[in-house]
Symmetry: C2
């Protein structure tokens, strides 16, 4: 049995899509229990494995993260994180304010011993459809080389446990594939990763190869990772617009485009990481999954599913055992 | 009259595509003179405004940049850069080894007084088709805040002169649009740019908005800029593959895809910055244009055209006048 805490109030379409996703999840998985945190008046869900805990405050997308976590003690997000902290649940899922969720993870759930900085991980789409583990996408914008090294350790375990890859190929995102390429940060991180036997380091990878299935885990700092993630999202969207404008400019194309319309839309969506079920904050003493703020019920459902697998595969326990080795 | 030096030997398909591009350029522009540097035996071009200077060495894509520039004194690239340095030509164009060309710029052509670090600038495609000036894409991988500030000054002048925008909107690439977002580098650069009246600073821009025509100049450091550039290139390519695999999986799609095939290919190419005529090394005491290594004749032609406009609009003289203000 896996028990998860879910933030009913976070995200653009909460609580509607959250409740829909939770309902489907407990129907699909007999071994899943959920505690919903939020306004009980808005919850009409009635299921033996779903419990509702009433909260009176909400953290909005505009709230300053650290302040919100420190002050809004009866918010759904804070109460949910406390349930992880005190061991009542195995993990939690929220589509709310990303910064606030990271602060809740850091200040309430707490870091694993030996973890200098938690990292936010996503699975990016690849050409084969397999996907690639990519971190950090924004938890630590001013990373040092040993943080990147630790990201590699965390990403390695994540790929083993959640993506079921026995020996993940770990690569470092860089501005050239040659060993000596990069800025001072990646050069030093390359050196650290080359000398380890904690994971299989395959060297530098360029941003043009991210989706080409050349690695199972790609490591970068939180600034660069966030830029890449949003660039990918933006390129998919802008590409879609250009395609649309262009294809509709002639009659023969107009007819053909009509046939392909839904397919093209679906493929553009494949490039949108938000469809891949959310990101996970790694390095904490508990499972914290962030669903995209604009999640629909399907995306939120897959975030719940991800938290459930993380619980079953004991990802936190695995990380606790491994990161001690990389302590500063 | 504008006089340019052209590296006949650089690039994957040299000298063939270089000669084709040069021939078309002198035909199209009556006020253009070209000195070609390379192996005279391979040059069959005969035109009153094209002169050939024989060189005996070549710098390959594999050569270590600084070493190649220092040792291969009779290479087409070194001789071309010397022609810029001694004022014989207004600028130069090469599709050869990027690092070597940057070194030739730095050590032979030399920096403008007051420029701490040169920057490599490209024009990225946008949804409207207008394009956006983007720098630095790889000249300075370990940038400081005042380097970013100087990139803004250089990009501003470039947009005015080469893209004919009277008052370019200059934005800083960052991981959020709010004023206080970012890593320590972008926070400090934001502060410097906010306090200036040298250009119109419009604040932070996210990577998902790069192609959305929200700015005319986007400033970043050489590491991040290179990652974005290659990510864009890779996304276009990977998107094309996914599209192809996917569309060809059903008969109705197969027929429709056949109609659209060339259009889709052309649009994917729009996302490939290499089609945009090359990048320019800014901050040097002369015009240095880098055509993409895999340039075809059309792309090399547009790199020549860009160098010609840069010469006509006196971009170097303009920068010399402005960057004194930002001297450290």
């Amino acid at each position: 049995m896996v028990k998860l805490a879910v933030d009913m109030m976070g995200g653009d379409d909460a609580p509607h899509i959250v409740l829909e996703a939770v309902e489907k999840a407990v129907q699909d998985f007999d071994d899943l229990e959920i505690i919903l945190f939020g306004d009980e008046k808005q919850c009409h869900l009635n299921h033996p494995r779903v419990e509702i805990r009433h909260t009176t405050e909400e953290i909005s997308m505009e709230d300053e993260p650290v302040r919100a976590i420190k002050r809004k003690k009866d918010s759904s997000m804070v109460r949910m994180a406390e349930a992880v902290k005190n061991g009542e649940v195995d993990g939690c899922v929220s589509a709310g304010n990303t910064g606030a969720l990271m602060s809740a993870g850091l200040f309430i759930v707490g870091r694993l011993p030996g973890v200098a900085r938690p990292a936010l991980v996503v699975t990016l789409p690849t050409v084969s459809g397999k996907g690639v583990v990519f971190l950090d996408v924004g938890a630590n914008a001013d990373a040092k080389a040993d943080h990147l090294y630790q990201n590699a350790v965390l990403g390695h375990i994540y790929a083993q446990k959640l993506r079921d890859i026995a020996e993940p190929r770990v690569a470092l995102l860089n501005i050239g594939t040659e060993d000596k390429k990069g800025n001072s940060l990646t050069k030093e991180a390359f050196r650290l990763m080359s000398e380890t036997d904690q994971f299989k380091f395959t060297g530098n990878i360029e941003a043009k190869s991210i989706m080409e299935d050349e690695a199972d885990v790609i490591v970068t700092d939180g600034f660069t990772g966030n830029i890449v993630l949003k660039n990918l999202e933006g390129t998919a969207r802008s590409f879609g617009k250009i395609l649309k404008n262009d294809l509709l400019s002639s009659l023969k194309n107009k007819l053909a485009a009509l046939v392909l319309k839904n397919d093209i839309k679906r493929i553009a969506k494949q490039l949108d990481y938000s469809e891949y079920g959310g990101s996970v904050l790694l390095g904490l003493d508990g499972i914290v999954v962030k669903a995209h703020g604009s999640s629909n019920a399907k995306a939120f459902y897959s975030a719940i599913r991800q938290a459930k697998i993380a619980g079953e595969t004991k990802i936190v326990e695995n990380m606790r055992a491994k990161v001690g080795d990389t302590d500063e």
